[in-house]
Amino acid sequence: MKEELNTLEQTVLNDYKYGFVTDIDTDIVPKGINETLIRLIWAKKNEPDWMLDWRLKAYTQWQKMEEPKWPNVTYPAINYQDIIYYAAPKQKGQLKGLDELDPELRRTFEKLGISLDEQKRLSGVAVDVVMDSVSVATSFKKQLSEIGVIFCSMSEAIQQHPELVKKYLGSVVPMTDNYFAALNAAVFTDGSFCFIPKSVRCPMELSTYFRINAENSGQFERTLIIAEDDSYVSYLEGCTAPMRDENQLHAAVVELVALSKAEIKYSTVQNWYPGDKEGHGGIYNFVTKRGICIGEHSKISWTQVETGSAITWKYPSVILKGDGSIGEFYSIALTNNHQQADTGTKMIHLGKNTKSRIVSKGISAGYSNNSYRGLVRAGKGATNARNYSQCDSLLLGDKCGANTFPYIEVKNTTAVVEHEATTSKIGEDQLFYCKQRGIDTETAVALIVNGFAKEVMNQLPMEFAVEAQKLLAINLEGSVG
């Protein structure tokens, strides 16, 4: 309780504490997207020829596509020619060790509380840090490589493990999957790459930290995680951006591949700058995340806490192809002020005895709009497929909206699919109970909201759970009364 009180006090003074800008030399290319730009990115990243073909193909497709209009969000048209597609902190040559990192950059990440220094060895998290368009540092690389785990930036993977990248890149999210995925395929600049070999249980949490720093830039990163037979990995992702008046675009793609009996646990705490109280500025978070359980008895689990971004548009999905595979989706989406979120999941059951579970908790406050949109499909071959979905919405205030759009498509007689959803507000009796015991309204609301979200919180790795809990309290600040 004391912890929460402190957080609230802090946030009265500072609404979005990650809103600072780092003054750092940045290598920036001119605004706008065209073939020259794509060649330029390709050249800057020193990529092999097949990558250029791939990017150009995606670009051609992208030009033919239309921006999706179906999400339940509204925003002014994005001018794709007014975005900087590549911005990289300048570095002098190849780094030998983390000691050589620009001190300004190092300070930035210290402020954000990320252990670039290995002094925090005890925390036991390997971090890959992506600033604007490129990955700037990866920690614990050596220890990981000893057991065969590859954890590096995407650019490095393209250079050093082209056979793996070539095999899996675009295999889960094809370049033409959707408008933003195609854009990402054409201009993606970096991201994390992670490969867990056979029978290895990754000894530490792997983590990527995304930070947008440069003005007018967009961030287009691509993450690829491959877990071979009988392996396990837990992966964390966090993101922040400075406070700016303009909207910035973040269009990422994440692909997960789980082979036989492999398990991938992917957790996100998304805290991009949500814009100010009047709804100016903030990040457009248009992300495509998808995993495929190729092998038998494999498992992919998505956990997300979405508190930031002006607009969130993302559906972490699982294709359950292998027999007996399992997909899970746990989500908390909190919107306040003028934020809009259209988020959910897709569970595509193809294999026999596949199972999936969806738990989604939406919390809307202020003038925000929060939608759950999900699809559960049991194909003809999905004998004994089983799904359970639960989406609950909590409304704080009468100016906000909560919507649910669950799609359920069943083609197999042995499949069992259940869905339930509720929408309600915080009970007067619950509030009264708290207040009677001397807890003020704001703290009581935070308490009740945390309880509402507990089922999902429990799924988060410990390192994130504390942060996420604080985030919920911070973002609700000022929404009561």
Partner: protein, 438 residues
């Protein structure tokens, strides 16, 4: 693809034949929408799972207007008459046109008035027509609805007088003549329930002949303060009969609506059941049962729009889908910002019996008020193995055991059919459908 021009000529003919007044203006607006949007395509979110454009491929439908006088006699009617018709008001539509000759009004004049729409628009009900006809277009903006609106002619206006409870139910029969050619029927009706009135309304459809029929129906019901409507739709037509059936109920006073839709056989069936709760404290209950076999495709779309505080609505739709049939349920609950203290519930339960069959369900909540209780749930599953086993251990053959359990599954919807004779009739239809002998 549907040729808009084909309809354009017809539309011009109709407009020049009866160019005057309110209805002609509504038609014009409807046709304007239709020519802009055409028939709904699957990329239209509301029509994602149901495609009707295939019905119009290489096929020319005869309009009711082609035929002039109908070719049915009262004895043709006997085949579809519902039980209890001796004590009911019977209204007959042939090819989408209201036929006073075949109809029988048994309730006294001071309770029930039935008029062709055109006559009503000229007489003392002018105001009601002006205010309420075509209001459904505000909610349904697709081309197929606009097509009906473009050709409003020969429809019916039903008026139930203030504080009158109809002793006799109103039966609506829709006959389509598909003996010689494919037929397009577009019945239209407006029902006005005055304050404190009460009515039971039963509707059923029948296609005669082996060519195809397509019925595109719109019924608007206006319910005033303390009025009560019970509405039953029974769809048990042949596989060559497809339809889009829209029922748009507006509760403009604090009233009560109770609607049950039973769908058994047919081609492609789309039901739009809209319930607009425009006054505080309204109550409404929607029930549906779809039992599909063969290649039948049934799509139930419900919309409950809570516009004022303190309304209660409850929806229960159940489906059993077999063979190559497809069942679709799309239930939308909207709660507008001012509609605090809304209670809205929705449930959809399905049993899938064949791997070639499919169920697509999409319960939807759009909520903009905070002091509400809304929930929805839906399930897709099979018969309970343990229950089947229990019955079989007692010597009941598996087929019978299955039928028993399925019949039990339909029971709670059947219970909502309140008129006794009708309930017995529907029960019989369900049993036949499940191949249960008497």
């Amino acid at each position: 693809m549907v040729d808009v021009n084909h309809f354009k000529d017809r539309f011009k003919q109709l407009q020049s034949a009866s160019p005057d007044g309110q209805i002609a203006r509504i038609r014009l607006k409807g046709f304007d929408t239709f020519s802009k949007t055409g028939l709904p395509a699957p990329r239209n979110e509301e029509w994602k799972y149901t495609s009707i454009s295939g019905l119009f491929n290489d096929k020319e439908y005869h309009f009711a207007a082609d035929d002039g006088q109908p070719v049915f006699t009262r004895s043709d009617l006997d085949a579809i008459r519902l039980p209890g018709h001796q004590g009911a008001n019977e209204l007959v539509f042939v090819n989408g046109w209201f036929m006073p000759m075949l109809s029988a009004i048994r309730s006294p004049d001071d309770q029930l008035t039935v008029l062709p729409l055109e006559d009503a628009a000229k007489g003392i009900y002018k105001k009601q027509i002006k205010e309420h006809l075509g209001q459904s277009s505000r909610y349904i903006k697709d081309g197929i609805h606009a097509l009906n609106t473009s050709f409003i002619y020969g429809g019916v206006f039903i008026h139930v007088a203030k504080r009158r409870e109809l002793q006799y139910p109103v039966y609506l029969y829709h006959l389509s003549d598909a003996r010689e050619h494919h037929t397009l029927c577009q019945p239209r009706s407006l029902i006005y329930m005055e304050e404190g009135s009460k009515m039971q309304l039963v509707e059923t459809f029948k296609t005669i002949g082996t060519s195809d029929s397509f019925t595109n129906q719109v019924m608007e019901i206006v319910v005033n303060n303390n009025a009560l409507i019970e509405y039953y739709k029974i769809q048990n037509d042949a596989a060559n009969a497809s339809q889009v059936s829209t029922t748009h109920i507006r509760q403009i006073g604090r009233g009560y609506a109770h609607a049950v839709t039973i769908t058994l056989n047919g081609g492609i069936i789309r039901n739009n059941m809209n319930l607009i709760l425009e006054a505080a404290g309204n109550e409404a209950h929607l029930y549906g049962l779809y039992m599909l076999k063969g290649h039948t495709h049934a799509d139930n779309h419900t919309l409950v729009d809570n516009r004022e505080p303190g309304c209660l609505s409850n929806q229960l739709y159940k489906g059993i889908v077999d063979d190559n049939a497809t069942g679709v349920f799309n239930g939308k609950i909207m709660v507008q910002p001012q509609a605090q203290k809304t209670n809205a519930y929705q449930s959809n339960k399905n049993i899938l019996l064949s791997d070639n069959a499919g169920i697509n369900t999409k319960p939807q909540l759009e909520i903009f008020a905070d002091d509400v209780k809304c929930s929805h749930g839906c399930t897709v599953g099979q018969l309970d193995e343990t229950a089947l086993f229990y019955l079989r251990t007692r010597g009941i053959p598996i087929e019978n055991a299955r039928a028993m359990l399925l019949e039990a599954f339909t029971e709670d919807i059947l219970d909502q059919v309140k008129p006794k004779l009708l309930r017995k009739h529907v029960k019989q239809l369900i049993r036949e459908h499940l191949s249960i002998k008497k």
